[in-house]
Each structure stands twice: as structure tokens, then as C-alpha cells.
């Protein structure tokens, strides 16, 4: 399933989506960036509540397909600009990480 399709099906809000046709497979949940870099796989959906600009670099380097911000976390506009420029897809979910992951069940 693509990021665009997944976001629509799960009712996530698009923060920025420069690459909606990117395929998603699997999911990783975590806020400690080195854990994410050590464990997340290329193409994963990454669920986090971390909102500083470093999430854009981590998403780019780990090659995850999309960042899903749980708990309705809001990003600073400067972070959104960096993410868009790096080609990072970001969507927002208004429920906690567990419920967000439950929505992904069967999709990725």
C-alpha cells in the first residue's frame, strides 16, 4: 500500500507528502532517535511523538516511508519545510501510538 492510500484509509491528516506513491511495509514505534536508526527498516511507517527537526534527518537516513506523528503532535513550520525539501512524508494521527498502530493493522 502506498503512503497516500494508507493515510486516507486510516484517516490521518497530511502534514507534508512530497512522495505519496512510496510503498509502506511494516511499522516501527519509538522516540529515541538512535533506537529508531538501529531498528527501523527501509520502507517502514515510523510512529513517534518526537517533533524536533532531527526527525527529518533520521527519516531520510533510515529511509522510512512515512513519519506518523501520534497524539496530534504539531510540527513547527520550519521542520515541515525541511522535511518537504528532503522528500519526507509526514502525517498526523490524533490518537496515541498504540491506537495509531492498530489503525495500521492489516494495511502494512
Amino acid at each position: 500500500m502506498t503512503v497516500g492510500e494508507l493515510s486516507k484509509k486510516c484517516g490521518f491528516v497530511t502534514v507534508c507528502m512530497p512522495e505519496p506513491d512510496r510503498e509502506v511495509s511494516g511499522c516501527y514505534i519509538g522516540d529515541l532517535l538512535s533506537w529508531v536508526m538501529g531498528r527501523a527498516q527501509s520502507g517502514n511507517a515510523w510512529i513517534t511523538i518526537m517533533s524536533n527537526v532531527n526527525i527529518a534527518a533520521v527519516a531520510s537516513l533510515t529511509d522510512v516511508a512515512v513519519i506518523i506523528l501520534a497524539e496530534g503532535v504539531i510540527l513547527d513550520e520550519s521542520v515541515v519545510a525541511v522535511a518537504s525539501q528532503k522528500g519526507i512524508n509526514i502525517v498526523s494521527s490524533d490518537v496515541p501510538a498504540f491506537e495509531t498502530a492498530m489503525k495500521l493493522g492489516g494495511c502494512v
Partner: protein
């Protein structure tokens, strides 16, 4: 092909926002060379961890990436406080990072272990009070 490609980066010690620029640039450069995506992913993560370490602990430093025919070598050089106990620093979960650094999502004690995890060879040469040189190597033709 006996010539090799070299990239040099200065890592700004004050800036968490720009941290990662060198790694992202290396990722782009390696992509243009047509290297396998998983090797690029692992190498750029290892380099990012090194960059972040230099920002957190050493007030910045330098990163040199050399692309050889059979391998890629990354050398990270800083003039920070050095690492007193390298085996302790290599343990997953051990960190001397401050609370403010942890609040940014770093300082989980996974940086050096990730660098080792994602490279084929890693050597740490550190002198307390003088600085640290970390050399990492990834081979391109792994069987």
C-alpha cells in the same frame, strides 16, 4: 580504477539543527555512484551517529569519507574531551549526554553501538583531553 573519491565535511559543534547535513550529503553522493541502497543506508546512519556524537560531546569536528574500489572509509576526527573507557562507551544504553540532549531524542547510549552495527570494521583511537578519531569501514563486495 586506482583513484578514489574523497569528501570532506566540517561538523558544526553548536548546531543540532544542521547536524546530519554531512550524512545526508554523503547519502546523495553515494546514490549518484549507484551503490546498493542498503549499504548507503547503513553507512549514512553510522556517519550520522558519529556527527551527532561530535556535536554532543566534542564541540564539533571533521568527517572524511573516502570511496575506494572495494570499500568506503569514514574517518571522524574531533578535539573533544576524549573517551576514558571505550568498552563502557560501547555498551548499549551507556551515555554521558545531558538531559537537554536527551530531550531532543538523543543520548540513548546507542550511537557507538549503531556505528559498529552498521559497519564492517570500526576502530576508536581516543586520548583523554585531546580528542577522538573513529575510523569506520564498509566493504562493497560482501559475499
Amino acid at each position: 580504477m586506482s583513484e578514489c573519491l574523497k569528501f570532506h565535511f566540517d561538523v558544526d559543534g553548536e548546531n543540532f539543527v544542521s547536524a546530519g547535513q554531512a550524512s545526508v550529503q554523503v547519502k546523495k553522493n553515494l546514490r549518484q555512484l549507484g551503490l546498493p541502497p542498503e549499504i548507503i543506508r547503513q553507512l549514512s546512519i553510522a556517519m550520522y551517529e558519529g556527527e551527532i556524537n561530535m556535536v554532543i560531546h566534542a564541540g564539533g569536528g571533521e568527517a572524511d569519507v573516502t570511496v575506494y574500489e572495494d570499500r568506503i572509509e569514514i574517518v571522524l576526527t574531533d578535539h573533544g574531551p576524549g573517551i576514558a573507557d571505550i568498552s563502557l562507551a560501547m555498551q548499549e544504553g551507556y551515555s554521558t549526554a545531558t538531559e537537554s540532549v536527551r530531550a531532543l531524542g538523543f543520548g540513548a547510549g546507542m550511537g557507538l553501538p549503531n556505528m559498529k552495527r552498521y559497519t564492517d570494521e570500526m576502530a576508536i583511537d581516543s586520548v583523554v583531553g585531546k580528542g577522538t578519531v573513529i575510523t569506520m569501514c564498509v566493504y562493497l563486495n560482501k559475499q
